[in-house]
Symmetry: C3
Subunit: 108 residues, 3 copies
């Protein structure tokens, strides 16, 4: 049994980690996944060294899976409006099929 | 030359790493990618600290690319049935276009 | 406001990091995201140990978001032609919706 859902991906600077997860929680999403990331954005050069150790990753990639596309868009809008004038970042959405809907449903 | 394929993503607790890759191998998939992940699930709070070092990531994200959607679904079903009553986890699927089909074809 | 874009993912050996990002820059893409990865490919076994520390990840996963699918395909073709006879690797594409187009537009 699979269900269509929206995956929101936010790649931005590590310093925003706590603030963004607070926005995600406030929007009603019940979970997210965070990975350390390096890279280069259009605004300026970020980490360009080899990713030898995680400490050298200045960015994070946050993924949010939600059954409600409006929740994903709300989070993306909030994050962009609050931070992307001053911090590097990009957000994108795609549609996925989730196997375990009850793991990420809104808790009410 | 690109070919349609299915990408299966499993995000779950790191302790399941070996058992899940065994399920992937047994299902006939020829490869997978693993990254360290933190985050929060609907079941309970997982890592909420800043991802400063990889050691602090309690989760893994496993990606499996397969030409046969049934293989991806079989792996997702097996993983969910065996572990997700007792461990945090989510699995999802999406369709991708792969450039190098011969790199992930079944060897048998 | 969202815009359709193409996401290219390259998973390959860490030693190719610099050369591949040079190809990405040369193709006119303005940014990419890099994460450390382990896993197993169809060619041979790569990291099979538990991903306890980032140092143990022998691979990288590079994501490139571009408004022009031809740029993504060009990068994928170049990378495969130059390296995948001698190194493990896979590339795939999918379509996404980006929230912040101006962050990854071509600068030239």
């Amino acid at each position: 049994m699979t269900t269509k859902a929206t995956r929101l991906v936010i790649v931005t600077e590590k310093i925003l980690h706590k603030e963004i997860t607070r926005i995600i929680d406030a929007a009603g999403a019940t979970g997210y996944t965070v990975t350390a990331a390096g890279g280069k954005g259009s605004r300026n050069v970020r980490s360009s060294g080899q990713p030898l150790v995680a400490d050298s990753y200045p960015n994070i990639k946050i993924e949010v899976i939600t059954a409600d596309p409006a929740v994903a868009k709300q989070i993306a809008d909030d994050v962009a409006a609050r931070y992307f004038d001053n911090f590097s970042g990009i957000t994108w959405l795609d549609e996925i099929e989730v196997h375990r809907l009850h793991k990420f449903q809104r808790q009410g």
